[in-house]
Structure formats: structure tokens, C-alpha cells
Symmetry: C2
Subunit: 283 residues, 2 copies
């Protein structure tokens, strides 16, 4: 079966009807396009597990703040189509904004508590926009399995919690972060880094590793582990730290003392580009 591009909700539902009837597994990889090695990893994992593999490509306006990069977010439909063909994707669902939001959405899905820290306070409305569009995609595609990257760890937890709280009949599969050889987490926004900024960018991963190293050496005080990470980031004057936090991996709440696994997560700005990354640390 060759890769087919579908742009309407009615058509994707129609295409999936017979697949569902014959008890085949539908896998969904929700993306905003500008597909890269991180998405490739998600798609490859999904390809192994699903009979019918759907990749959605939709730059969701709801999850961008008024001062964020919605209009500047990279869009490359032709390249994405080739990318999906190469990876043997069955269906691409790429609706226009008007198809997904024919009227302004008065309904939103909110996930409390786990959006209180990390990116939450810096991107008001972001996770609500994510949860809402993912709920819509789950209702449209009705996949048995859906794949999300660990790079967006907070997003992943928000979606996992939404699925369990709302009894959605989908299994959320977490896929490990893909990194460049120098450690930089692969991201659609990396392409906007100048050569000089690109050389600075791996510093975020090195900072997370410094916290990991401290905890491996027996540091139990998260303040101290955090200080080691921040010391790395301070070495580069071009880097502006938005946050660097150590949180519990379930509810993303700040942890003071290491007593179990934690996630260290950071967001930095290099020039106009915002980068995020995180590491799960099991002491």
C-alpha cells in the first residue's frame, strides 16, 4: 500500500472504517510536520507495531501563544510526504486549520498540576492546546496505539494523564529522544540556529548530564545537582536560561531530595531560538 494523503476528517474516517472492521491495529504518530530523525524514530517504532500507520501533520494554532512562532513554524509538505513514503507510512492526515477548527473551539481539555512547572508557566495555554488537539486526533483516527517523543517529556505526561483520566481507549507509547552526535536533541527548530548558535546548542544536554553525573556521584540534594547543571550553562554568554528543574517523572513536581527516579529538564534560549531537553535519572 502506498502512502496516501488525506485532508478531511470525513475521508480519513471513511478510509479507516474497513481497517477497524477487520480488527487491524491502527497506529498514530501525531506531528506538526517538518519531519526529522526524531519523527523517524517514532514512525519506525509505530511501523513495527501497527497494521495501518497514520502520521498526522498539523501545525496546531491552539498550542502557540500570541508571541510565539506559529506563523514562522517550518512547513514543508512536499518533503514530509517524501519522508513518509520512504518510511512506508500508510496514511498522512494533513487537515487545514479550517477543517480542524471550522468554528472557534469553545471546548478545551485541561490537565492540571503536571503543567504547573517547567514549560507550563512560560507557555500559558500551550498544554491545553496540545491536550485539546490530541483529544481531537484520537477521536478522529481512533488509534489503538499513539507515539510521542520523550524529548517533550511534559507533553508526554500530560497526554498519558489525559488518556488515563478520560478513559481513552489508546495506548500511549513513549519513544526515546534522538540526538545529534554532539548530544543536541533533534528538533524542528534546530534548523533556525545560525552556525555559531548551533555550536552552542549542545550545552543544554551537557548541563543535564552534569546533573546526572552529580546524582550518580551520590549527590542527593537537588539544589546542588541543579547548581552543577546551571554552572555549565553559565559558561556560554549567548545562552539565556528559561528554567532548569528537577522534577518527579509522574506529576512533574519539583523534588528537593533524591529518593527515586527524577527528570531533569531545561529550556534555554540561544538568540531567538528556544530549545528544550530532559533526562530521566534513576539513581
Amino acid at each position: 500500500m502506498s502512502t496516501e494523503l488525506v485532508q478531511t476528517i470525513a475521508e480519513i474516517r471513511h478510509r479507516l472504517e474497513s481497517i477497524r472492521s477487520s480488527h487491524q491495529i491502527i497506529g498514530l504518530v501525531p506531528t506538526m510536520g517538518a519531519l526529522h530523525a526524531g519523527h523517524e524514530s517514532l514512525i519506525q517504532q509505530a511501523r513495527k507495531e501497527a497494521d495501518c500507520l497514520v502520521v498526522s501533520i498539523f501545525v496546531n494554532p491552539l498550542q502557540f501563544g500570541p508571541k510565539e512562532d506559529y506563523t514562522r513554524y517550518p512547513r514543508m509538505p512536499e518533503a514530509d510526504l517524501d519522508f513518509c513514503r520512504r518510511l512506508d507510512v500508510d496514511l498522512i492526515f494533513a487537515p487545514e486549520v479550517e477543517e480542524m477548527y471550522p468554528t472557534p473551539s469553545l471546548t478545551s481539555v485541561e490537565v492540571a498540576r503536571m503543567t504547573d512547572h517547567l514549560c507550563g508557566p512560560f507557555r500559558p495555554g500551550h498544554f491545553s492546546g496540545v491536550a485539546t488537539v490530541v483529544a481531537k486526533l484520537f477521536h478522529i483516527i481512533q488509534p489503538q496505539r499513539a507515539y510521542f517523543g520523550e524529548k517533550d517529556a511534559q507533553q508526554l505526561r500530560v497526554i498519558e494523564r489525559m488518556v488515563s483520566d478520560l478513559n481513552l481507549a489508546v495506548t500511549v507509547v513513549a519513544v526515546p529522544t534522538v540526538r545529534e552526535s554532539d548530544g543536541l536533541a533533534v528538533s524542528s527548530r534546530n534548523q533556525y540556529l545560525s552556525p555559531e548558535e548551533r555550536r552552542s546548542a549542545p550545552i543544554l544536554y551537557r548541563a543535564l548530564q552534569a546533573a546526572q553525573q552529580a546524582i550518580a556521584e551520590g549527590v542527593l540534594d537537588c539544589g546542588e545537582a541543579r547548581k552543577r547543571a546551571l554552572a555549565v550553562l553559565e559558561q556560554d554568554q549567548s545562552v539565556k536560561v528559561e528554567y532548569l528543574e528537577i522534577v518527579d517523572p509522574e506529576e512533574m513536581q519539583p523534588v528537593e531530595q533524591i529518593t527515586g527516579p527524577v527528570r531533569v529538564a531545561g529550556a534555554i534560549r540561544i538568540g531567538a531560538i528556544r530549545l528544550i531537553d530532559n533526562l530521566l535519572i534513576a539513581p
Copy 2:
């Protein structure tokens, strides 16, 4: 097929699997139990249209405010079971609170704008609780059709809007209000009225009819139509008016001049009992 009582999510999903596979229509009537003639009308309508008819019975704590009647809400599981048997219901889904909320729900479904007026300001959190539990029930049962009474017109619109905004694959069917011979809308809370209060209760319907009559006579000013309804309610000193509003039937926003169909809706208190009712008026 006799009526079967199911109390867990896993079991109801299991029971419905083969029904779904054989392309039968699943109909859901969500209730809080204490079934009465209003529910009977919902169930009879559903019975005509569904191959497999599920009635859920769940007093949802999320939709009661801290000062509301969650603990006092009537529970009569035996009578409800008989009621469903008599009406040829296939499955009753009656989970315990712990089954529906094994952990505190961090996720909520919010429907803005159409909750701004009528019951919305008087019952903060109510419609969010309703939307959230109905989303859960839709995900658990996955009905093709779900039945709601017009008596709770604002709830009905909230659910219809949630379904369209979130692309839920369910058809919401609105069923007309059932009334006693004196006009009182049937409600689980009516049983708590003393004989004297019960005699006062139909005044709400009479007030709504007064507004309807005014509009039928050519009154276009909603302030005037509203005044006629309030004049009826003022005749009974035991009645406390919570609100009496004329709104558009789509988004439940106050209307000043009649230019199309409107809904006149009211809430009153008689003693400790809160009663609501509404009428759709097409001029």
C-alpha cells in the same frame, strides 16, 4: 437478552466488543439513577434506535459543588434495576466512584461561553464536571448515539458543543421534557418537595408560558417578556427566583430583541429544593 448489571470499565468494554464488531448500534442513556418518567422517555427513544441499549447510572461527584446535594442525591439501585428491566435495557453500567476516579482527576473538559449564563454562574464547576464525566462515558462505552433530555437544555448544548469541538464520533439525540399533568417538569429532585411545595412547583412552568404567551402576542422586547414571567413567580412568596433569562438556543447568550428562536429558562428555589425548567420559543 435480559438486563445485565456491569460495574467495571473492563467488563463493560469486554461486553461491548463483540457488539461493536458485528456493527450493531450502541445507544447510551447517561443518568444519575433515581429513574423517572423523564428517563423512561429517553430510554424508549433509545430502545427504538439502538441494537444494544446501555443505561449508565453514576452520581458524579465532580458535577456537584461543595454546598450542593451530592450526598443527599437520591440513590435507589434496586428500583432502577427493575425500571431498566421493564424497559428492556440491555446493559446497566453502574460503576462505583473509585472505578471512575481511581486517582483524583487532573483532567477536565471545559466548554466556554455557553456556560457563562443561566446555571453556569450559580454552579461553578458544574458543567465542567458534566462534560468531563460524559467524555469519560463516551470513551468507555463508545456509543454511536447518546440521549439527553431537553429539560437540562444548557447541559445538552454543552455536550453537543463538546462533541462537535472535539470530533467525538457520537450523535447526540435531544429528547423533549416530560411533564406532570400540572406542567411540572419531571425531576429526581421533585420527590423531596413537601405536599405544599409540590403545589407551588408548577409555577415555574407557568412563568415560562407567560413569557411564551407574551412573545406569541407580538412582544419583541425580551425585557418585557421576562417581566411577564417574573410577575407570575412573584405571586408565590415561597418561591425564590435564582434566574429567569431569555437566551439564544445555540450559545445560550442573553437576547434583547426577538429576531429568531429563543430559549426562556429559569431556576427557582422552593424551600431547600432547586428546580429548573425551560421552553424553546419559535416566534
